[in-house]
């Protein structure tokens, strides 16, 4: 099943340019693992980089360094070519998250668990969220942008249904109350700023939720 909700071209271009913060880049990378359509788009945007690289023009290069490189490829065992080894999509995403390391799952509210990823860049943090089947998350808004990628299960809210591979980009100010589908849902999230919970339940659990 292919994802339906994709990152915007602007976000993919920012990713291809290499100017996206690292937490958001991780979420986009995981979406790309799940989405051939967006991999194609990123490849097209990387052509821009290729074209501009060619335009930079040549000129010489430090001959000593060139010599070092040629020696390294001839002699240095750690520099030898590695044959391509494929990974399944799921293993690829696990390996991406493992690049950073993660904490244990922690309860943060009824039916909701949070798992820290040791990654914060330019004020944007990455983490995982797990919701039990049928859980309604408290109505909330964000102070900054939030990217959410579904890794397992699904959730839905006013703006649609989000299943595996779907990415939602919520701008600061958007308010929503997602509901988890009929199976457990696991998401990968990059968030700038903080979440503000609303409603009675939200106010009750806000002190426990340090998102």
């Amino acid at each position: 099943m292919r994802p339906i909700h994709h990152p915007s071209d602007l976000l993919l271009a920012e990713y291809a340019a290499g100017s996206l913060d690292e937490a958001s880049a991780l979420i986009v990378s995981a979406h790309l693992a799940l989405c051939p359509h967006c991999r194609r788009a990123v490849a097209d945007f990387e052509c821009i980089g290729g074209a501009l690289l060619e335009q930079v023009g040549g000129g010489g290069f430090d001959t000593q360094r060139r010599g070092q490189a040629v020696t390294a490829i001839s002699a240095d065992l750690s520099q030898q070519p590695v044959p391509r080894r494929d990974l399944s999509v799921a293993d690829s995403i696990e390996a991406m998250i493992d690049v950073y390391g993660r904490g244990p799952w922690r309860w943060i509210g009824p039916g909701v668990y949070h798992r820290r990823i040791d990654l914060e860049d330019n004020g944007v943090r990455a983490f995982m969220l797990r919701g039990a089947p049928g859980t309604e998350l408290p109505d909330h808004s964000h102070s900054g942008t939030e990217l959410t990628l579904v890794l397992k299960g699904e959730f839905s809210h006013e703006l649609g249904r989000f299943g595996v591979g779907d990415m939602e980009a919520a701008d600061g100010g958007i308010r929503h109350a997602p509901r988890i589908g009929n199976e457990e849902c696991i998401c990968l999230v990059a968030m700038a700023g903080t979440i503000r919970l609303r409603g009675l339940l939200g106010r009750l659990i806000q002190p426990f939720v340090r998102l």
Partner: protein, 194 residues
Amino acid sequence: MKNDGPERSDDDYGKMIRSIAERRDRTAFACLFDHFAPRIRGMILRTGASAEQAEDIAQEAMLTLWRKADYFDPLRAAPAAWVFAIARNLRIDGIRRERRAQVHACLERVEPEGPEQPDHLVNADERQRRVVEALKHLPPEQAEVVHMSFVEGKAHGEISKCLDLPLGTVKSRLRLAMVRLRQALADLAEEETP
């Protein structure tokens, strides 16, 4: 460009990378080095790096090309775009302990989806040529932000500060540039329409 040797095409560079993958062709490596290393250095210099940092990254990018030649898929990417992505990851990692390159390596290893897209993949070099052409015809204000984003590696917020423009203007210029680019590629076969 002087001292740049004979004129070569994307196709030639693609074959050299394949030749490294298939038989560790050192002559091909030297040739690719002479073409790409100075360009990578030039690009990294434009991010504000020192000459030494730029040469470090260029050298490391070329060694990465050697090690990972087998990941180059000529149907998927033109050589320049592939080399750009290697250099971009190393540039980001200059401040981030090699993690971006590791994440990228995980993504590269995702198994291709079988018979998904035979026809539009045969033209990576054609796609690259189209993009080169489209870039030439961008209005200057769009070309400027594209350059700052892709070559200088500036975030949209930084571009907005440098040019003293509202963030929304920077984003809309980039968005328009991406639309033009997409249009330039639109008639090349795309995968299934959703």
